[in-house]
Structure formats: C-alpha cells, structure tokens
C-alpha cells in the first residue's frame, strides 16, 4: 500500500464518523461536562448561581441523610423492579417461545404493545385504576364490600415497582427471547432422551443457557428503572421522591441547579459503575455460553 492510500485509510473512518461524532459531542458530551462542572458551583436564594469551584453541593449530598434515603429508595425500587421483571419475564419469554406460529406473533405483539404507548399514558392508566377513592378497581372492590379503604397503590413504593415492572417488561422479555433463539432446537429432546424430566430440563439445561439473557435484560431494566422519571413522578409525586424526580425538582422548583446537577451526576456515576461492574462479572461468569 502506498503512503497516500495508507493515510487515506486512516483518515476515512474518522471522516465517515465525524457527523455522528459531532452530534454526540454536541448534544451529549458537552452538556454532560457542563452538568458536572455545574455541580461544583455555588448557589444562593438571592444571588443565584455563582461560577466558583466549591464542594458545597457534594458535601450536602454526602452528609444529609435525606439524600441517602432518596438514593437508597431509588436503588431499592430499581432492584425490586428488576427482580419482578426477571421472575415474570423469563418464564413469559420461554412460554412465548414454545407457542406455535400464529399465537407466538400475536402474543409477542401483546408484550411489545406497551412500548408503542407513551409511558405517561400507561402510568396514568394505573392511577385511573388504583388512584385513591376514585380509582376504578378501588371503587369496585369497596362497593362490593371486599375492602373498606382503597388499595394503597399511589404514593407507595409497591405501586411504583409494579408500574415500573409493567413498563420495563418488554425489555426483559426481548432479552430472554434473544437468548432462547440461540438455543439448539433439539437441546430439550437431547436432555429428555438422556432421562431428564421437564423440571430438570428447565433447571439444568435451559436456565443456565438463558441466564446471560436474563442478566443483560436485568442490566437494561435496572438502569432504566433507576433513572426513570415519568412513572415515579406520577405514582410517587412529591411525596415519594427518587433520584430522578429529586434532580428535576432541584432544577425546576427550588431552582438550585448546582445541587440538582450534583444529584444527577451522582446518579449517572453510580449507574455506570453498577452496569459496567455487573457486565464484567456476567461476561466472566458466562464466558462459555457467550462464545
């Protein structure tokens, strides 16, 4: 290869990715860096934002138990949502995969359907069903005399986990589904011919092979749930705040942008650490299945 051609082949990938790279830098990297810088600025009720370098916001987050509670709640809700989607989504994907042609595509559509509807609309649906005394389900149950007071759903962590799990379910099902597609179609027959019963087949043969799918689905669901805004905002409102709604309130209600930036940055860093860490762990543990 001549020098000129070599130079061209080095430059070509850069030239070709430049537009996307510029967009990435412009709309993601720069605002992100600005947010991080913002979290070190000072803020006062009357003086507004002062572009100085102080650790005040970070100190506040680290010492005030209020923030610890917020982040702990966010983590707890995300973990529970992930567990719930895994427990329901993995069997769902398995059953779906065993269905015959027409039913399979129908139910796949049913599962993916929610993705086509706005998160806000879906969450408001939950609120319509369970929202206090006027919720449809609550009204029904109370008029039937099954219960006296409405089911505690709104402004509870349980409600938030259920609503989030509903929103996140397609991601888990799709992820497990992808893992199931990699399975040898004869693998269950092979295990059966060797004398394994249905429970053993699922536990010893299917589960270990779809585990990477469950775990990558879990990473997606966890990170989306931990940073989710719409669902916690509607179900939890001001009473039950999580990291994302907290940052939002700091920005738009208190107008304490630097503190909001610090919350957002901490959430981002924590998520990146958790996702990258568990990803590395999974890839090492399931190296043989991933090959």
């Amino acid at each position: 290869m001549s020098m000129a051609a070599e130079e061209r082949s080095v430059r070509a990938p850069w030239a070709l990715t430049a537009p996307a790279l510029m967009l990435f830098v412009g709309v993601l990297l720069i605002p992100l860096v600005m947010t991080v810088m913002l979290s070190f600025h000072d803020w006062g009720q009357y003086k507004g934002i002062e572009p100085v370098f102080i650790l005040k916001n970070w100190h506040e987050i680290a010492t005030d138990p209020y923030y610890a509670e917020m982040f702990w709640r966010t983590f707890r809700i995300a973990i529970l949502t992930t567990l719930l989607t895994a427990l329901l989504g993995a069997p769902e994907a398995y059953i779906l995969n065993r269905m015959s042609g027409r039913w399979k595509s129908f139910f796949l559509l049913v599962i993916l359907g929610p993705l086509l509807i706005s998160v806000v609309a879906r969450t408001l649906g939950w609120a319509l069903l369970f929202g206090g005394n006027n919720g449809l389900v609550n009204k029904l149950l109370m008029s039937l005399g099954v219960m006296r007071s409405p089911i505690p759903f709104m402004f509870t962590e349980t409600g938030m986990v259920i609503a989030l799990a509903h929103v996140m379910m397609p991601f888990m099902v799709l992820s497990v589904w992808a893992a199931l597609q990699r399975l040898d179609p004869q693998i269950e027959n092979a295990a059966m011919s060797l004398g394994a019963g249905p429970v053993t087949i699922i536990r010893r043969i299917i589960m270990p092979q779809i585990m990477p799918g469950v775990l990558s689905g879990a990473i997606i669901v966890f990170s989306l749930s931990a940073s989710a805004f719409a669902t916690p905002a509607i179900i939890g409102g001001r009473r039950l705040k999580v990291a994302a709604t907290l940052a939002y309130d700091e920005f738009l209600n208190t107008l304490n942008w630097p503190l909001g930036a610090a919350v957002a940055t901490l959430l981002l860093v924590a998520l990146v650490l958790i996702v990258v860490g568990s990803n590395a762990l999974i890839e090492r543990r399931y190296a043989e299945v991933f090959r």
Binding site: D184, P185, Q186, I187, N189, A190, A191, M192, S193, L194, G195, A196, G197, T200, R204, I205, P208, Q209, Y286, E288, V289, R291
Partner: protein
C-alpha cells in the same frame, strides 16, 4: 423374534401423510440405515422411535414391549442429533455424565464410565473442554460418547455426519462402524448420503415420499434396485429408452443401435438401466459422442451424448489409452448388468 419391530407405522400432520405403512424388523446388534432424500419421512420415523413424535397409526415394539407407551425420557435410547445438541454450558465430561446422573449412577462409577466413553471415541484428555471450544468432529464424538455411555438399547443417529467435511466424514464413518461393532449396540442411522448408508449399514431401508421403496443389504439395493427411484438414488445410473420387439425371432430388445435377446415377460417400450461403471467401449453397440472426459485419478468419467440421450460412463484407470473428447464411440454392456422396466409412452 425381532429386537425392534415397527408394524405398519404411519404419521400424519393434518391432512399430510409424512410416513405411511412403515414395517421393519431390526435384529439385535444390527446396523440399519434409513436412506432417502430430504422430506421422505426418515427423520420423522426416527423421532417416532425416539418418542418425540407419536405415530398416528401402527405399533413400535422393543423386545416385545410397546415402546409408544413409554415416555421418551424412560425409553433408554441413545440419540445423536444432526446439530449434536450438546449442552454448551457443560464440559465434555459433564455432557457425557448427564445421562448417568439422571440414572443416579454413583459418582465414582460415573467418573469411570465417562472417562472410558470419552477414551473410546478418542477424546481422552478433553474432559474439561467446553463444546464451543471443540471442532465439529470432536463435538460429534462427544455426542456419540454421551449417547453410548448410558448403554442404550438402541442407538439412533440423525444425520450425524452431515455437518462434517468430506475427509472427516470418511474417517468418522470408519470409526463409527468400528465402535458399533465393538459395543454391539443396535443402531439406526438416518442419512441422505448413499455412500454413508452403504459403507456403514448391514441393511438399508430406502425411503421416498413416506414409503419404503426397498429393504435390503447395501449390495442388494445397489445391484437389484426394486424401483426406478432406488436405482437413481443409489449411485448414478443411465436410463435408455428401448423397445422390445416380439415380432422378431428370437424377440429382440433394441436401444438405438444396441440390441440383445429380449428378457421374458415385457414387451413394447421399456427403460433400460445400466450403472455407468458397467458400460464399456466396443465395436458395435449404442453410438455415442464423448462430450467431456474427466480424469479422477483411479477412474475416468465420460459424459456422452448417445442415440438414446445423455449417458455417463466410468472406466477404471487401467493405464490403457482412453478415447478423447469429440470422438464417437460404441457403448456396450452385458445383458445381465442392466435392469429393464416397462416404460409408459407419453
């Protein structure tokens, strides 16, 4: 009494009959091949023996017991799948041990049997390898060891060699035959490869469109094909349009400029089938022009354009000079080497 008996077994999917009227007696220790093109019902038959499919009609008996009444997990058959269907998350040894585990074989005995099974298929030292880190041939061997270690009453092989390259396939054929001879397991092989069926089996069941065309030893099916399908499917064959002339005395079978005394029975238009290696070049006979001449080491392959249509001729490379491309030759064969069938004139 037969060891494995299939009696008028049939399988229907909806209105479609995939296997029909399949009857076969397999002796203990016998190596049987189901041979046929894809979609002929050979794999379906195998799956019915394995229990993954239930026959629509008919009975399958193993040592006099009704096999269809037994759950597939309890049949105790060893199966090697086309894709091998190894458990990718387990090592070779764990794969082989799985069937023994399901049978609650004690740990010590299990380890010993796994080791000897892997040694038998030539994989000693590969115990801790995962299937995805093994070559196709090695995976094939693990699958065979996994099927044999449970001492199956019948070994079912579903196109086990079709994913291997030609050289490896030949090696595995020889090895498979040797292992089967040593272990003595009754074996049923499903294949679409006639060479594989012929070199491995004691008897071949040739199938087409869900029906048995012929059951016989490899030599029988090759030399005395029961139908046009069998003669075409097992090796190459030349079909020439001929006529039997009963007005001449003695009656003559005529194909182009080739003629011979007519066999008894038939008359009118017939099809004359001759294997390419049974045709020679002579002074009088079917006139043909050589289109291509291909040298294949131990033999020559001639593609000719004869009076009665295209013809293939195979001649042993005996060192003698052979006619070249474009030359006109006369094709001759011995009457006992051909088979003659009635031909319907369209």
């Amino acid at each position: 009494m037969a060891y494995l008996e299939l009696d008028r077994v049939a399988k229907q999917f909806g209105a479609q009959t995939v296997v029909d009227d399949f009857s076969l007696s397999v002796g203990k220790g016998e190596f049987i091949s189901f041979l046929g093109p894809s979609g002929c019902g050979k794999t379906t038959t195998l799956q019915m023996i394995a229990g993954f499919l239930d026959p629509t009609r008919g009975a399958i008996q193993l040592e006099g017991k009704d096999l269809t009444a037994i759950h597939p997990a309890k049949r105790g058959l060893g199966i090697v799948f086309q894709s091998y269907a190894l458990f990718p998350h387990m090592t070779a040894a764990e794969n082989v041990a799985f069937g023994l585990e399901m049978r609650n074989v004690p740990r010590n005995e299990r380890a010993e049997r796994v080791r000897s099974a892997l040694a038998m298929v030539g994989l000693a030292g590969y115990e801790d390898r995962h299937p995805r880190r093994m070559s196709g041939g090695q995976q094939q061997r693990v699958a065979l060891a996994r099927a044999l270690v449970i001492k199956p009453s019948v070994l079912l092989l579903d196109e086990p060699l079709s994913n291997l390259d030609a050289k490896l396939r030949e090696e595995m054929q020889i090895e498979l035959r040797q292992i089967q001879r040593t272990v003595g397991t009754t074996t049923i092989l499903v294949t679409h490869d006639q060479n594989e069926a012929m070199s491995l089996s004691d008897r071949i069941v040739v199938m087409s469109q869900g029906k048995i065309e012929q059951i016989g030893t490899p030599q029988e099916t090759y030399e005395k094909p029961a139908s046009a399908f069998v003669s075409q499917f097992l090796g190459k064959t030349n079909d020439f349009a001929g006529t039997i002339d009963r007005t001449a005395t003695p009656a003559q079978l005529v194909a182009g400029s080739w003629s011979a005394p007519a066999p008894v029975g038939l008359s009118g238009p017939v099809t004359v089938s001759i294997r390419p290696e049974r045709i020679g070049f002579g002074d009088a006979g079917l006139s043909a022009k050589i289109i291509t001449r291909i040298f294949q080491g131990n033999h020559w392959l001639f593609q000719c354009d004869s009076e009665c249509g295209p013809a293939i001729v195979i001649r042993q490379n005996d060192g003698k000079a052979q006619p070249g491309e474009g030359e006109t030759v006369r094709l001759i064969w011995r009457p006992e080497d051909m088979s003659v069938r009635a031909r319907t004139v369209v």
